[in-house]
Amino acid sequence: MPEDPINASSKAVPQINLRRRLVNAAVTFAAVGAVILVLTPLVAIFGYLVYRGVGSVNWAFLTQTPKPVGEAGGGMANAIAGSAFILLLASLIGVPFGIGAGIYLAEYGRNRFGDAIRFTADVLNGVPSIVIGIVAYGIVVLTQGHFSALAGGVALSLMMIPTISRTTEEMLLLVPNSLREASYGLGISRWRTTLSITLRTATSGVITGVMLAFARVAGETAPLLFTAFGNQYWNYRIDQPTAALPLQIFTYAISPFDEWHRQAWAGALVLIVLIVVSVSAVRIAASRGMLKGAN
């Protein structure tokens, strides 16, 4: 007798169903396992940073320069200040060029030439930071004859420009065209429209993009290795080698001295706190609409 197709159903295929369900369960289990495996190092890293670093981050650490090898104490104050200095230089170059390029891409660059620039920006984003360091070495250090904060700033700005230009473009494109039209309709010229209407509406997004680029380069070490080079002392001159927090962490971490290892952890904790705080602060300010601009 031919099988009744309507009632035959699961009696004929219980094994297949069970196997498929087992596979489904196994995959779910594996996925959860993956999540745990991935979150573990994250927790571990932050945990160790706090565990090994918190005891060493004290007033002395934050205000003193390194002591000579072998002596206990001292701090990374010059490295923190140096990082700030180098980042300031990088921002002075990187932010205007990045936003300018972003404006071009959004408002004038909806064509093949603009695509070429977009593509190039993405390529630039993928260049290893050590290679950027080589380039900055070639154009600044060799010209000046010595390592300098400027060289470090230039290296970091080269990394900021493509990032900022893409986020700025993205934010400007989100501004509805009806606003530009309203502005043109009032007889407002194109450049005025772009700055006072379009850019102003996108302000919070653009600033967020700048801060993210800033946070990304704040932790970079490789491009500074042979540009800013590092310095044991305070430096305010743009044309002298300068200490930087990530550099200092690196130097101390690979050294054979326990005292320096301890300070490396402290420096790492300070660095990660600064990065996380600045990114979070910007995100919170943006979502609260405290940055001028439309939601």
Binding site: N24, L37, V38, G100, I130, I161, W191, A215, G219
Partner: protein
């Protein structure tokens, strides 16, 4: 098509009553528009200029080494600055092996996390999970390295490597003294570092797959995993591949964390326990101390090779990702 008969209309230019009350600046905006355009164009061209600069610096300053060694530079195993002998093969080997090892470890985990986040996790968990993966991406390389030296390496040395040597030593991959430091450590820390980018791109392309695709497969009676496999992953294949290759590009260029744990020995060895050297690491370690023009030029040539390789890999990855997300503006991954 008729209308009122033409009769002299009101004057406009500058003589009406309102014009005296409101004196608008005349339409000299033409010049300002052009200047503005020129300024932003200049900024955009700067991007082209920078890439040109990169190429120019790398190519011109590596000429010395290129002329000295030619193509054998990339095949020679002997890196001996003292005697002006420079062979870059150990670095190429080290870069490739550490990156591939990182991929082998990272890809299943990253895809697993992405699958869980997009398809399996309860809604309230999605945001926090995505956030924490992004947080991993925000940690600077040097901090990864620091943690690797003082936490990962001792772990490897004391527990993992002896275990691997005992049970998997027959593969030939786990021989030699368990220093902790070496190719294995580099591969592991690299894996942790590239998981966020692979995961976030995978998530992005998976969410780009339309809901109809999922529902279509489910309607055929598939289990959830089967739906994910056939309805989502299959469609997002190209994009996921792109994400993986992007991760590879990132691993190839990664410098600090690798430098801190790979052992910095320019030798080729089969065992993953052995110390090694990558292209990025040798530049990081030796550039500022390089004496002699040939030494420096050789290092820059290594940098040129690194640049070209990562550029090709990244372009390939971008193309693949674009093919799925239809060329939406690229998200910057912090």
């Amino acid at each position: 098509m008729t209308g009122p008969k033409p009769v002299a209309g009101p004057q406009l230019a500058g003589q009406t009553s309102w014009a005296s009350a409101i004196r608008l600046k005349d339409a000299g905006g033409q010049l300002a528009d052009t200047v503005f355009y020129a300024l932003v164009l200049f900024c955009a061209l700067a991007i082209l200029a920078v890439v040109g600069l990169v190429l120019d610096e790398l190519v011109s300053k590596s000429q010395l080494s290129w002329h000295a060694f030619g193509f054998k530079f990339f095949l020679g195993q002997n890196w001996d600055p003292v005697n002006d002998q420079f062979g870059a093969l150990p670095f190429i080997y080290g870069t490739v092996v550490s990156s591939l090892l990182a991929l082998v470890l990272a890809v299943p985990l990253a895809i697993g996390v992405a699958v869980f986040t997009t398809e399996m996790s309860p809604r309230w968990l999605r945001g926090p999970l995505a956030f924490t993966t992004e947080l991993l991406a925000a940690i600077p390389s040097v901090i990864y390295g620091l943690w690797a030296i003082f936490v990962l390496v001792p772990l490897l040395r004391q527990y993992v490597q002896p275990w691997l040597a005992r049970y998997l030593g027959w593969t030939g991959l786990f021989e030699g003294p368990p220093y902790g430091i070496g190719m294995l450590a580099a591969g592991i820390i690299l894996a942790i570092m590239i998981i966020p980018i692979i995961s976030s791109i995978t998530r992005e392309v998976m969410t780009a797959v339309s809901q109809q695709q999922r529902e279509g497969v489910l309607a055929l009676g598939a289990t959830r995993w089967e739906m994910i496999r056939m309805g989502v992953l299959r469609n997002a294949r190209a994009g996921i591949m792109g994400g993986v290759i992007l991760g590879l590009g990132r691993a190839l260029g990664e410098t600090m964390a690798v430098t801190m744990v790979i052992g910095n020995r320019p030798e080729i060895a089969r065992s993953l326990f052995a110390p090694g050297y990558t292209m990025a690491s040798v530049i990081a370690n030796e550039f500022s101390e390089a004496t002699g023009d040939l030494y420096l030029s050789a290092l820059i040539e290594v940098g040129l090779a690194l640049f070209l390789v990562t550029m090709v890999v990244n372009i390939l990855a971008q193309l693949l990702v674009w093919s799925v997300t239809r060329g939406a503006p690229a998200r910057t991954h912090a």
